[in-house]
Chain length 430, copies 2
């Protein structure tokens, strides 16, 4: 093999980073792979756009076929994003016996199983490290480093935008709206932040992680999702006071062969390793039966971090090519997926209530919990100034989601309860 030629689909932030690393680290790449790596062709939306990276104009094209049907290109790197076109180009590349590296979480969450199958049928590699948690080699760690273990729980802070927002809200005491604006100005949040703040982006990543970590075909629609838009300063204040930190946690939990996968604002004890993951950083906490607690921390996005993950995949593909062992990385799920019912999902919960401040209120509430067999781990009652109301904050002991939801409904019916202000899951155990 005289050299390996790569084709890029897309030349945005991440694509630019890939070119910078491939060109800037030629010596190291050559040392690892044993032959030069060159950028052959790059699909761009418009030839006229100004670029952040120097590149021979003859290598740019607006025609995808010049990449995916190009006989001189060995590996296609998909960094264009989106689902429909990206999928079509990847399928065509694989059918043309080109290996593929992608950073596309939407695509992998929706069509990962199908694409991996096509790759295998064509003897091609398909790697996707960059699709989850940018620069953190979590896919590799799950599929290789922890391969011999049985993973029972993963908790991920896998969306940098929401972690930035929650960190600033907690540390500055600012409102959600103000911090979102700041994040948008700093480029940590999109003009339309919906996909991030509503938890959809995190859900895609959790579907990918759960599929891999549990060796089950977890689909995006299996992930229960709730975003961060309703979190208030009061909630964060009480979290802190009770020794917890609020994070948007992607949770994947397996027990007795059944799984739950969710993304939701969650209280973690402040001493939990994930509680110290701040600003736009990402981290994935993995609990394995044998290894115990591990955590992988790093940048979740950004041009060069994401490009690092892509080029590492590229190095793996190139090594496989030289060894003649491509198309072997795909492992079909070992287990049949069974989702937990609401009776089986176990957790603690945080509740904040506004109640009428009179005799009998407290007793009515505690009786309701007692009837459902749920006891309190922590309890806080405070008067609300300038109103005949009191604020009650409860952290329950572990109960089922079903029971908790019954209690939640019943609380809303109680005369003494003026409003259930907020309600969050509390995690921390294994």
């Amino acid at each position: 093999m005289n050299g390996i030629s790569i084709g890029l689909l897309g030349l945005g932030t991440v694509g630019t980073g890939v070119i910078k690393i491939v060109e800037g680290h030629q010596e190291e790449l050559m040392h690892q792979v044993g032959c030069p790596v060159t950028v052959g062709k790059v699909l761009v939306r418009s030839l006229d756009k100004k670029r952040d990276v120097e590149i021979d104009e003859n290598k740019l094209t607006e025609n995808p076929e010049e990449v995916i049907d190009n006989p001189n290109i060995d590996v296609v790197i998909e960094v264009m994003g989106g689902v429909k076109e990206a999928k079509a180009y990847i399928v065509r590349s694989l059918q043309n016996k080109k290996h593929v590296v992608t950073a596309n979480k939407d695509l992998m969450a929706l069509h990962g199983a199908e694409l991996l199958k096509i790759a295998q049928e064509n003897g091609c590699d398909l790697y996707y490290e960059a699709s989850v948690a940018g620069g953190i080699p979590i896919i590799r760690s799950l599929s290789e480093g922890l391969a011999s273990d049985r993973i029972t729980k993963m908790m991920g802070i896998v969306n940098g935008t929401t972690n930035f927002i929650l960190t600033k809200m907690s540390k500055q005491g600012s409102s959600y709206e103000d911090v979102l604006k700041e994040a948008q100005e700093l480029g940590f949040a999109e003009a339309d932040p919906t996909s991030d703040v509503e938890g959809l982006d995190a859900a895609r990543k959790m579907a990918i992680l759960a599929t891999l970590g549990f060796s089950m075909n977890v689909k995006l629609e299996d992930v229960v999702v709730r975003g961060i838009t309703t979190i208030t300063q009061e909630d964060l204040h009480y979290c802190d006071q009770l020794g917890y930190t609020m994070k948007l946690i992607g949770l994947a939990h397996r027990s007795d062969g059944r799984v739950e996968v969710s993304v939701q604002p969650t209280l973690l004890p402040t001493e939990h390793p994930l509680a110290a993951v701040n600003d736009e950083f990402n981290a994935v906490y993995v609990y394995g039966e044998a290894v115990g607690e591990t955590m992988f921390y790093g940048p979740g996005a950004g041009s060069l971090p994401t490009a690092t993950a892509i080029v590492s995949d590229l190095v793996t593909v190139m090594k496989n090519m030289r060894l003649g062992v491509t198309g072997r990385n795909v492992i079909a799920p070992l287990y049949h997926k069974e989702l937990k019912t609401d009776e089986e999902i176990q957790s603690k919960y945080f509740l904040r209530l506004h109640v009428v401040d009179k005799a009998g209120t407290f007793s009515a509430i505690t009786s309701l919990f007692a009837e459902h067999g749920v006891s309190f781990e922590k309890l806080l009652q405070l008067p609300i100034k300038e109103a005949d109301l009191a604020e009650i904050i409860i952290i329950t002991h572990t109960t089922s989601k079903k029971t908790y939801e019954d209690i939640y409904q019943a609380l809303n019916q109680l005369d003494v309860v003026q409003s259930v202000e907020s309600s969050y899951r509390v995690e921390g155990g294994k």
Copy 2:
């Protein structure tokens, strides 16, 4: 291939864990490797000893040749520890075309390069993930996940015993001696704790990490080592007050093609990700030019965590065997090692002094620093009760090790300085 047979050298804590995982996870292993894995022979010190794991007595032997010369054994797992015998057995195994997985940090730190060369010459794999930071897949992350990046700095909490001791000293306010005793009772420290508390164990791991991360042949004698035995409650108290956490940090730093590797008690800002790594946990912080900050956290020792790393290596070896691509994992260092001089090593420092509490003292000290061109980042002066002395705590701005050592010598000569109580490095940047 009908099945793969492994031989163990040693059946202590880690060896027992390996057998438990191999026997307990047959289904997962079979799924990944495509053929059954069996334990063929196990070298033990004495056949009569009671075991923590069920094993057919016919598989045990006191004769190493029944493992390393056994034609039925494909992979040898070395978990006996020590250097001389372990090395001889590994060399013989490799010469017999057996692949080797080892957890032996002493051996890899001293003879890693030589053993990897012998492995390659014999077309055999030699993997050693478990030799550094137990259950954390850091070797794999450095050699694969971050392979395309240029790593400039690694900081590791790679010794669980000392991290346990420093955590308890900080949180409980107990003395070094008391906590060491507690650690020994809990089994977190050896009866003779020298290798841990003097930093030697950590130094071996840092030599391995630096060799791999910088692609240079870093030797154990290149690592400057200082242990934790002289750390006092006062030091930890002032650390905390000034916003720092004391950790035993293995530091490997590269700039301008030159490196320094050290193990020493180091102050980290409390918001640094490593500062939150407590108790017996390990973590390795890696800074790469492209990826930025990443950190890998997990258990640094223990039967099952370490065994997880070994079995993951075993899975890699078995996959390589099935693909016919063994003996390819060895990459000779790319760069020639050049150690930094004391003029080139740059850092901040923490100093605690006892000084005579009279006019002119402060000026004498500040003049000394000014003469050497070193300014202060933080300064604290407090009277010492029941003595005509004051305590001065200084955190310097960045300076060279050479300059700092000159100042340190000169301080000891100053009349107004009664004693230099303690002195530590301060880290935090990239």
